[in-house]
C-alpha cells in the first residue's frame, strides 16, 4: 500500500492508484474536490482550473504550490492539501469567474436540483454574485426532437465537445468562437447526427443540454420513482434508471455497470421509453366474441376464458426474445416444452443458437463492452454496428486507440492526460479490419474494409482462420486481392488482445462459424482472442438457451395438426413470419391468445388479448449478447389490469386445471422453478437478493427521501393518503420509507449523496473511481467456454466447416439483405414520438451501377417481389453495396418478417402501384 498525505493525514491508496491523477484518487478516498472538465471516461485536460489543491515538496514545505489535481500523478508519500486557505480561495475565485455569465435560472432549468454546477458552486462557497455587468447571451439551436439546447448556461468546460467528437465520433457538433463568446453547437440548426447525442444531457455539468422528451412531462429528480432496470431496445443489455411520476414514465438515465455500459447509453435506449406512455397501450383484457370487435372484460373473466381454451383442445405457445426469461419459461410450462416455439424469425434463432454453440464450445469467450475497450486489434464481420448494437461503437472506438495509447506511454505521457495523448497520437489508430455489405458510419476508424455479400464476408473470415492455423478449413478459389487482404488481417490479429466481432446483421450463420474459426485459431496460437456478437433483441440469448421449436415449425404444426389454441407472449408474429406464414396461422388457428403491451398486427386478429407489463411495470430477467443475465425491476405499478405476462400465465395454470394452485405466486418462485428445470439458469435467482431481503429490517425505497406530495398527490380525488402499491416480488418498495443508506449495487436505483445531487454522485458509490460499484452485482454470465480456457497446447479444436460458395449474382434476381436502423428497426421504441420522428422511411437500396442497369433513378418507385411479399418503395442509391445485392430496411412498422437474405425480383413500379407491402 502506498500512502498519500492529505492535509497531514496519511491515507492508504492502492498500488495501482499510484500514477493516477490526484483528483480521481482523492474522490476515491471520499474527499470532495470540485471539478468540471474532468470525467472518468475522458480523463483530464486541466481546462476548468476548478480542482486546484496545494502540493507540498515534503513535510518541511509549509508554503506549497497550487496545482490542478486532475493533472498531477499521485505518488507514494506525496503531501497535498485540499483545505489549504489559498487553495480554497483559488477555487472560489475560479467558480466566481466561471459563473460570470451563468443566468442563474435554476428554477426554470430542467437540470435544477441535479446540477453538477449547482453542487460545485455550493461546495466552493460561492454564494454571492459581485459582477454587475451585462451577461453574454446566445441564440440557441434546434437540435432535433431529443436534445434541448440553452447555451446561456454554459461554463465552457468543453466536456460536450470532447464526448461528442472523441468518444462518440460525431462530426456535426463542436466548439465555435473564442474569448467570452465560446459556443458549443452546430454549424446550423438541425438534428444532431450522432446516435449518442443524448449523453450530452448527462455529460454537461449544467443545463445547456437537457432531455427534450422529459421536458414535455417534466419532473424533478427527487420526485421520480426509480428502480434499477435494463434497456430492452437492443441485445447489449445496458443498465438504466427509468423514472416515473403520476403513472407515466418520465425519462431514462444511465445506470453504471462497469462491465457493461459504463457511463453512456445510445439514443434509442435513452429515448425509446415513451412507448410505455403510449395512448394506445392495452390496459384491460380484451375479448372478441362471434367475430365482433375486441371488447374489454374483467381480468378474472379473461383468465377463466383462457383456462377453458386450454382445457379443451391442443394448445401451443410462441414466446418472445423481447420478453423476460420468466415469461418465456412460464409459457413453456403452461403449454408443455414440446409445444413451445421461439417468437423470432427462424433465421435469427439459428444464428443465435450458432453463437451459443460457439461460446459454449470455446475456447474463446464472449467479450463484455468493457472487455472490448481493452482489445487492441479488431476484425469485424458483417456488422453495421451503429444500427445493430449501438453502444458497442463506443467500445470499439476505445479499442482502436489502445495501440496508439501504448505507443504514447513510451513517451512517458500519463494515461490520464487526454489532450497530450491525443496530440501525441494524432490520427493514428490500431488495426481494425471489416468485411461489411456496404458503407458504415464506423468506416473512418477502419484500417481496411472489404465490401461484399454475406457469403463472401464469411469466406474472407474462413480464409483468415485458415491462414492463422492451416488446420482450419481452407477456402477455394478466393480472388488474389482477397487472399492478400486475408493475409494482412491474419497477421494483424496475432497480437495480444484480438477481438472478433460478428452478429446477425447479415442474417448469415456462415459468418458466425467463420468468426468462431478465427477466434479459435488465434486461441490455439496463444492469442487471447475474444468474440463479440450482436443479437437482435434484449433477451435473444436467454430465450435461445431454452428448448423450443422454430417459429416456422409452429406454422407447420398449425397447418397440419389441427391445433386449436395458440398463445403468443409479447411477440408480433407479423414481424417474425413471411406473409404466407402469418396468413396460415390466422386462417388455421381457432383461438389466438396474445399477451402484449401495445396493439399490433397480431393482436388485431386475436380472440383474447391480455395486457402485458412493459419493462418499467414489471420485474424479470434478461440475458444480453454476452450471455450476462441481468435483473430489471418494476419501477411503478401500472394502471388497469396490466401485469407481467408470467403472472397471467401462472393464473392460467390454475384456470386450465393444469395446476392446483398458482405455481409461481411471486418472482422468487418462478425464478426457483426456472433454475431447477433448466440447469443453465441455475445462477439466475442469485443475481439479485430475494424479495425477503432486508437491510436493518427495512426494504429499499423506490422514492427519494425528498419525494414531494406524498400526502397530497391524490388530493383532487381523496383526502386519504394512498397506501404504497404492494410489491411481493422484490426487496424494493413503492414508498419513500425504507433503508435510507446505500443499498447493494443490484438494488441501486438512484445516485445521490449529501452535496452531490447530480449523476456525479456516482463517485460515492464506486469502490474506486471508474471501478466496480460497492457490493457490485454486474449480472451473471451464463455461458463460458466448457472446460475453461485451457492453454494453447492443451487445446483440441474442432473447426467448423461448411464454407459457403462464393456469391454469384443472378441475371434476373437480386439478393435481398436486411438493413437495420437504430431508429426504426426496433419494434417498441417506434411508439416513442421522438424516435419515430427520426426513423428511416422504407426504401430499396441498390448501388449506382445496378440502379443504372435497371434504368432507375433515386427516388423512383421500385417494386420487389420476395417470397410471398410484394414491396413497392422509393429507390435509394447506396455506395458500397455489392453488385447484385439489394438492401431493404428491417422491422419498420408495417414491414413483414421476410427471412433475409433471400432472392427477389425487382422492376420499376407501374403507374398507380401503391407504396407499401402486399401479398403476391
Amino acid at each position: 500500500m502506498a500512502v498519500l498525505y492529505v492535509d497531514n493525514q496519511p491515507h492508504e491508496i492502492r498500488p495501482h492508484e499510484v500514477g493516477k491523477n490526484l483528483l480521481k484518487v482523492c474522490l476515491g478516498l471520499g474527499f470532495n474536490i470540485p471539478y468540471f472538465c474532468w470525467h472518468p471516461a475522458f480523463q483530464s485536460v486541466g481546462a476548468c482550473r476548478q480542482c486546484a489543491i496545494k502540493l507540498f515538496k515534503d513535510e518541511h514545505d509549509t508554503k506549497g504550490k497550487i496545482v490542478m489535481s486532475c493533472m498531477v500523478s499521485a505518488k507514494d508519500g506525496m503531501r497535498i492539501s485540499i483545505d489549504d486557505p489559498e487553495a480554497i480561495e483559488f477555487r472560489a475565485r475560479v467558480i466566481e469567474w466561471l459563473m460570470l455569465n451563468h443566468p442563474h435560472d435554476c428554477p426554470v432549468c430542467d437540470e435544477g436540483g441535479e446540477c453538477h454546477l449547482q453542487d460545485m458552486t455550493v461546495m466552493t462557497g460561492h454564494t454571492y454574485r459581485r459582477n454587475r455587468f451585462a451577461k453574454r447571451s446566445f441564440r440557441n439551436q434546434d437540435m432535433g426532437p431529443l436534445v434541448a439546447h440553452e447555451m446561456n448556461r454554459c461554463i465552457q468546460c468543453y466536456r460536450c465537445a470532447r464526448f461528442y467528437r472523441h468518444s462518440a465520433g460525431g462530426r456535426d457538433f463542436g466548439v465555435m468562437g473564442w474569448h467570452d463568446r465560446v459556443f458549443f453547437g452546430r454549424f446550423e440548426d438541425g438534428v444532431l447526427q450522432s446516435e449518442f447525442a443524448g449523453n450530452l444531457v448527462e455529460v454537461c455539468p449544467t443545463g445547456v443540454f437537457t432531455d427534450k422528451t422529459q421536458a414535455r412531462h417534466f419532473t424533478r429528480k427527487w420526485d421520480l420513482q426509480t428502480a434499477p432496470s435494463v434497456c430492452v431496445h437492443c441485445g447489449l443489455g445496458c443498465n438504466t434508471i427509468p423514472g416515473e411520476r403520476y403513472g407515466s414514465l418520465r425519462r431514462i438515465r444511465n445506470r453504471y455497470n462497469h462491465r457493461v455500459n459504463g457511463y453512456f447509453l445510445c439514443d434509442r435506449g435513452r429515448y425509446g421509453y415513451e412507448f410505455v406512455n403510449s395512448p394506445h397501450r392495452i390496459r384491460q383484457p380484451l375479448l372478441r366474441e362471434n367475430q365482433a370487435a375486441l371488447r374489454p372484460i374483467s381480468a378474472q373473466a379473461a383468465i377463466t376464458h383462457l383456462g377453458n381454451l386450454l382445457h379443451s383442445g391442443r394448445a401451443i405457445g410462441i414466446g418472445s426474445p423481447r420478453a423476460s426469461l420468466e415469461t418465456n419459461y412460464a409459457l413453456a410450462k403452461l403449454v408443455g416444452a414440446e409445444n413451445f416455439y421461439h417468437g423470432m424469425p427462424t433465421k435469427h434463432l439459428r444464428i443465435v443458437r450458432a453463437m451459443l454453440d460457439v461460446l459454449k464450445r470455446g475456447p474463446a469467450p464472449s467479450a463484455s463492452l468493457h472487455d472490448m475497450e481493452k482489445c487492441n486489434t479488431i476484425f469485424m464481420m458483417g456488422e453495421d454496428i451503429h444500427n445493430v448494437g449501438p453502444l458497442m461503437v463506443l467500445s470499439l472506438r476505445q479499442a482502436v486507440l489502445q495501440k496508439p495509447i501504448a505507443e504514447a506511454a513510451k513517451l512517458h505521457i500519463s494515461d490520464f492526460e487526454d489532450a497530450v495523448i491525443r496530440e501525441a497520437i494524432q490520427q493514428e489508430k490500431g488495426p481494425f479490419f471489416t468485411g461489411v455489405p456496404g458503407f458504415t458510419k464506423l468506416d473512418d476508424q477502419v484500417t481496411q474494409a472489404y465490401r461484399g455479400a454475406p457469403h463472401d464476408i464469411a469466406r474472407l473470415g474462413f480464409a483468415v482462420a485458415h491462414m492463422i492455423d492451416p488446420a482450419a478449413p481452407a477456402v477455394e478459389d478466393l480472388p488474389v486481392e482477397r487472399v492478400q487482404f486475408a493475409q494482412r488481417i491474419a497477421k494483424a490479429l496475432q497480437d495480444k488482445k484480438p477481438l472478433i466481432v460478428a452478429g446477425y446483421n447479415c442474417g448469415s450463420e456462415s459468418i458466425v462459424r467463420a468468426s468462431a474459426n478465427v477466434a479459435w485459431a488465434l486461441r490455439k496460437k496463444g492469442f487471447a482472442a475474444h468474440l463479440a456478437y450482436t443479437v437482435p433483441e434484449c433477451n435473444s440469448m436467454g430465450t435461445a438457451l431454452m428448448d423450443g421449436g422454430e417459429i416456422d415449425d409452429a406454422v407447420q404444426a398449425i397447418a397440419s395438426n389441427g391445433i386449436d389454441t395458440l398463445i403468443v407472449a409479447e411477440s408480433n408474429l407479423y414481424r417474425q413470419l413471411s406473409l404466407s406464414g402469418f396468413d396460415t396461422i390466422l386462417r388455421r388457428i381457432k383461438h389466438l391468445v396474445v399477451l402484449d403491451c401495445l396493439p399490433n398486427e397480431t393482436t388485431a386478429w386475436a380472440e383474447l388479448v391480455l395486457p402485458a407489463a412493459t419493462f418499467a411495470e414489471g420485474s424479470g430477467t434478461l440475458v444480453n449478447n454476452e450471455c450476462r443475465a441481468q435483473r430489471f425491476y418494476q419501477v411503478f405499478s401500472p394502471a388497469g389490469d396490466v401485469r407481467e405476462s408470467w403472472k397471467w400465465l401462472s393464473a392460467a395454470m390454475v384456470a386450465s386445471g393444469r395446476a392446483q394452485s398458482e405455481p409461481w405466486p411471486d418472482l422468487d418462485a418462478v425464478l426457483a422453478a426456472l433454475a431447477r428445470d433448466i440447469p443453465v439458469f441455475a445462477k439466475v435467482p442469485g443475481i439479485t437478493p430475494p424479495s425477503s431481503f432486508r437491510l436493518m429490517g427495512m426494504p429499499v425505497p423506490r422514492e427519494s427521501h425528498r419525494f414531494s406530495g406524498r400526502t397530497a398527490i391524490d388530493a383532487d380525488q381523496t383526502i386519504h393518503e394512498r397506501p404504497p402499491e404492494p410489491d411481493a416480488d422484490t426487496p424494493l418498495r413503492h414508498s419513500m420509507e425504507g433503508y435510507p443508506l446505500q443499498p447493494p449495487a443490484s438494488l441501486l436505483g438512484r445516485y445521490w449523496a449529501p452535496g452531490w445531487n447530480s449523476d456525479h454522485a456516482l463517485n460515492k458509490f464506486q469502490q474506486e473511481i471508474d471501478g466496480p460499484l460497492r457490493e457490485d452485482a454486474p449480472g451473471v454470465r451464463l455461458v463460458e467456454p466448457s472446460g475453461g480456457q485451457p492453454s494453447a497446447e492443451a487445446l483440441n479444436i474442432e473447426y467448423l466447416g461448411l464454407v459457403p460458395p462464393a456469391f454469384q449474382r443472378r441475371a434476373e434476381e437480386w439478393l435481398v439483405i436486411p438493413a437495420y436502423h437504430i431508429f426504426g428497426s426496433d419494434e417498441l421504441s417506434m411508439h416513442s414520438p421522438g424516435i419515430a420522428e427520426l426513423a428511416a422511411k422504407p426504401y430499396l437500396q441498390l448501388n449506382q451501377a445496378d440502379a443504372d442497369s435497371l434504368g432507375a433513378t433515386p427516388g423512383q418507385l421500385m417494386t420487389m417481389t420476395v417470397e410471398s411479399a410484394v414491396c413497392t418503395f422509393p429507390l435509394k442509391v447506396g455506395p458500397g453495396l455489392p453488385d447484385g445485392v439489394v438492401a431493404i430496411p428491417f422491422g419498420l412498422p408495417g414491414l413483414p418478417g421476410v427471412a433475409l437474405p433471400a432472392w427477389g425480383k425487382i422492376r420499376p413500379a407501374q403507374p398507380g402501384e401503391p407504396t407499401g407491402v402486399r401479398q403476391a
Binding site: R171, D172, F173, G174, V175, M176, G177, W178, F183, R186, F187, E188, Q427
Partner: protein, 154 residues
C-alpha cells in the same frame, strides 16, 4: 461555389500536409483573399474539399478574428486598441474615425467602402497609435492625418 483558382490554391496547401484538415486555416485565408470574407456557402465548400464537416471548419473559422464570417467593406480598418495605443490616443482616434466614416466599431459604411474593427495589438507599439488598412500599417496617427490616409482607399 468556389472558383477553380481557389480550389487549385487550396489543393496546393493540402499537398503540404500529411492529412488534409490541417490546411483548414490556409484554405479559409485563400477564400477570404478572393472574396473578402467567408460565407456559409464557402465554409461548406471548404469542408467538402478538405473532407471535413462544416462544423469542423466553422470551429476554425470562428476561432480567428481575422477570418470574416460576415460581409465586410472593400477595405477593412483594424484600429489597434492595445495598451500602448490606448495610452497614445486610441480613443480620440476611434471617435474621429467613427465620425468621419459615420460608423461605429464592427460596422460597414453604407457605400460598402470601409469596415471598422478593433484589433488587440498590431505589434507596432513604437508607432502608437496605429491602425491597419488592408495590408498597410499606418502609425503615429493623429485625427488630422486620417482624411488623407482614407482617400488612398477607393
Amino acid at each position: 461555389m468556389l472558383s477553380e483558382e481557389e480550389r487549385k490554391e487550396i489543393e496546393a496547401e493540402c499537398a503540404l500536409y500529411e492529412h488534409r484538415r490541417p490546411a483548414t486555416s490556409e484554405a479559409l485565408k485563400i477564400v477570404q483573399r478572393h472574396r473578402g470574407w467567408v460565407s456559409d456557402e464557402a465554409v461548406k465548400d471548404v469542408a467538402e474539399i478538405l473532407g471535413a464537416s462544416a462544423d469542423e471548419v466553422e470551429s476554425v473559422a470562428t476561432f480567428y478574428t481575422l477570418i470574416f464570417r460576415q460581409k465586410v467593406g472593400r477595405h477593412v480598418i483594424l484600429i489597434c486598441d492595445s495598451v500602448s495605443c490606448y495610452i497614445m490616443g486610441y480613443e480620440t482616434l476611434k471617435e474621429h474615425l467613427g465620425r468621419v466614416l459615420g460608423i461605429e466599431l464592427g460596422q460597414t459604411t453604407s457605400d460598402g467602402r470601409f469596415t471598422l474593427l478593433p484589433n488587440a495589438c498590431l505589434g507596432v507599439c513604437e508607432q502608437a497609435p496605429a491602425m491597419m488598412i488592408d495590408e498597410d500599417v499606418h502609425g503615429h496617427l493623429t485625427p488630422e492625418k486620417i482624411p488623407d490616409i482614407l482617400s488612398r482607399y477607393a
